[in-house]
């Protein structure tokens, strides 16, 4: 089995009032190309921290372990280099950027990534064509491109905007951090279809979720259970169903 992402013994802490607080305590995880993996786990288990550490957020200090992406040391890269290499993090809480036009933002990002990947930059016309097609697939109104990034967007609009960015940036590994939270059934379906549209042998996803519903749409290849900063159990899609029915208690007891 080839490895797109290989995380080994990853430890990471965050500064909490001057003292380091360890949140990841030895995460091991492998994601092969073309697969969708889900991570589930109780609040505070380190799921979001894992996604931030993989995307390069500087607030976290990696104290041990490694993460290889396409065989390269992911942790040595700047956030923008990770994006260029093919990592995309869909934020649990997308950030508002007042004064930054959404279309300009998208075009700047797409061309920065294309430049880094030695692909020709998109001109205004080429970009518009690509973005119109993507917004249509996501049932997004055109005026969302004219507005400032995420400013005044509803929760559902913000999540759709994340999927739009993901579509345009063509990642090889998308990390979806509770992209399904706060979505109504229609929005959830649209977001799930947005991810499904990207499915290919060159696209993998790591889906962090609390809910069975998104996984029903995506049909994950593997499900991992995280607790206390580690992956304590991995299995097939049936694991998600079991958690849905029984909760985490049984797993936590097992891990203790």
């Amino acid at each position: 089995m080839s490895e797109l992402l290989k995380i080994s013994g990853l430890h990471a802490s965050i500064d909490a009032d001057g003292a380091p607080k360890e949140i990841l305590r030895g995460v091991d995880l492998v994601i092969p190309p073309g697969e969708v993996h889900a991570i589930m786990g109780p609040n505070g288990c380190g799921k979001s921290t894992l996604s931030y550490v993989l995307a390069g957020r500087e607030d976290y200090e990696v104290t041990a372990g490694s993460a290889l992406f396409k065989g390269e040391d992911l942790l040595a890269m700047e956030p923008e280099e990770r994006a260029a290499a093919g990592i995309f993090l869909a934020f649990q809480t997308p950030v508002e950027l007042p004064g930054v036009n959404n279309a300009n933002f998208l075009r700047t990002a797409v061309n920065a990534v294309r430049r880094a990947r030695n692909a020709p930059e998109l001109d205004a016309v080429g970009f518009l064509k690509a973005v119109r097609a993507a917004t249509k697939n996501l049932s997004m109104a055109d005026d969302m491109l004219k507005r400032n990034v995420n400013v005044g967007f509803s929760g559902g609009e913000k999540k759709r905007n994340e999927v739009l960015q993901m579509t345009m940036l063509q990642p090889t590994l998308a990390i979806l951090d509770e992209t399904d939270s706060g979505l109504d059934v229609d929005a959830l379906r649209i977001v799930a279809e947005g991810v499904q549209n990207l499915r290919s042998p060159d696209f993998s996803a790591l889906v962090i979720t609390h809910h069975q519903k998104l996984l029903d749409y995506l049909g994950p290849d593997r499900v991992h259970v995280m607790a206390k900063g580690r992956v304590i159990r991995s299995g097939g899609p049936e694991l998600a169903k079991q958690i849905n029915e029984e909760g985490y208690a049984a797993f936590l007891k097992e891990a203790a």
């Binding site: 994006a83 934020f91 950027l97 004064g99 700047t108 990002a109």
Partner: protein
Amino acid sequence: MNAIAPITLSLEPFAARLSDVKGEDRKAAAGALARTGLPTPRVEAWHYTNLRALSGRIFSDAPVGFDESAAQAALARILPPDAAIAALPRLVLVNGRFAPSLSSTDLPEGVSCTSFVQSPDFGILASPDREGMVALNTALADDGVQVTVAPGTQAGQVVLVSLALGTESDVSFHPRHSITLGEEASLSVIEIAASENAGAYLHNPVLTCAIAEKAHLTHVKIQQEAENAVHLATVYADIAVRAAYDSFTLGLGSVLARHEVHATMHGDHAAVHVNGAQLLAASQVGDITSVIAHAAPDCISRQTVRNVLSDRARAVFQGKVLVERVAQKTDGYQMNQALLLSPSAEINAKPELEIYADDVKCSHGATVGALDDDQLFYLRSRGIPDDQARQMLVEAFLVETVDLVEDEALRTVLHQALAAALSQRVGAAEKTA
């Protein structure tokens, strides 16, 4: 701090010229100056901005006459690239003097322009007896433009360029401008203060604006003077019933700059916008000072000023809102914000509300901060390099104020000026920080 600061700053830099002024207004102004001197930080209105950069020098008159082709080349570089703007009528001053050969002769119907030397008129709006730099301007006023818009005329846009061209150091010019709008007239003025191959000059303009009933004046200024220049400008706006003065100043250049606005609404339902943005680096000092007076009921004033400061740059914001007893139902808003990109950058903010009416809505606020880490990470996580991401956030911060300008063409000009300044400055500043 122990040394006793002088109350006045010596008039020596201008003494020879001041002793030689002719005419009642100029003599009165020179007399007022002789009593008060140039303002020092001991004067409350100049507490944060020190004019000592002027002392120890002797400022002489700017030379008359200039190199025509050099001026044309400078204008081509300075004027906004936008074709629609290039086609607008323009009034050009070179080294403080009106230059008919560089200015449009075909002004829109209903608009007339005379130069100050043609028919000198100081008007009644300025207060040389109270403002030292206005007194200096009044005493030494060399020239200027006097624009009049006939009642009911929708005059569109006019570009007013003040070009310092080949000016050596220690030259000063003191143009005196006036804009008069008749009832229900409208005009948009894009004022650009710029230089070409100029030294450490002083540009000290005074602009008086008389805005009659239901008239609307939009006044946008782009200050991109030479890096060693000093720019000390004062604007007076007098706003009648249901009239509006909508202004924006973009401060980019000069080692020391002050944009001082006195706007008085003496007619009901009038409106004033005194917005601005400053992008300062190195050891630049940029001062935006305003006195907005509500002297009639039901008027609105809005003020949003944002500053982006790197290196050792310092911004000053002094905003006074005066609500007179008669000015019931006043609606006032004032906000001053600063983004400090370096630990040695500084902002001095002094908001001041003076309210004598009892039924008013006046709010003000100030914020100071650095770039937002969450926003920066979000941009970088989308593949945008750190430098570019920082520049985008700085631009966004300032663009939000530019977007307060209603006139779309003027907004575009401001966006372009800002983007050009940012691509020159912020990238370089961030790298050396």
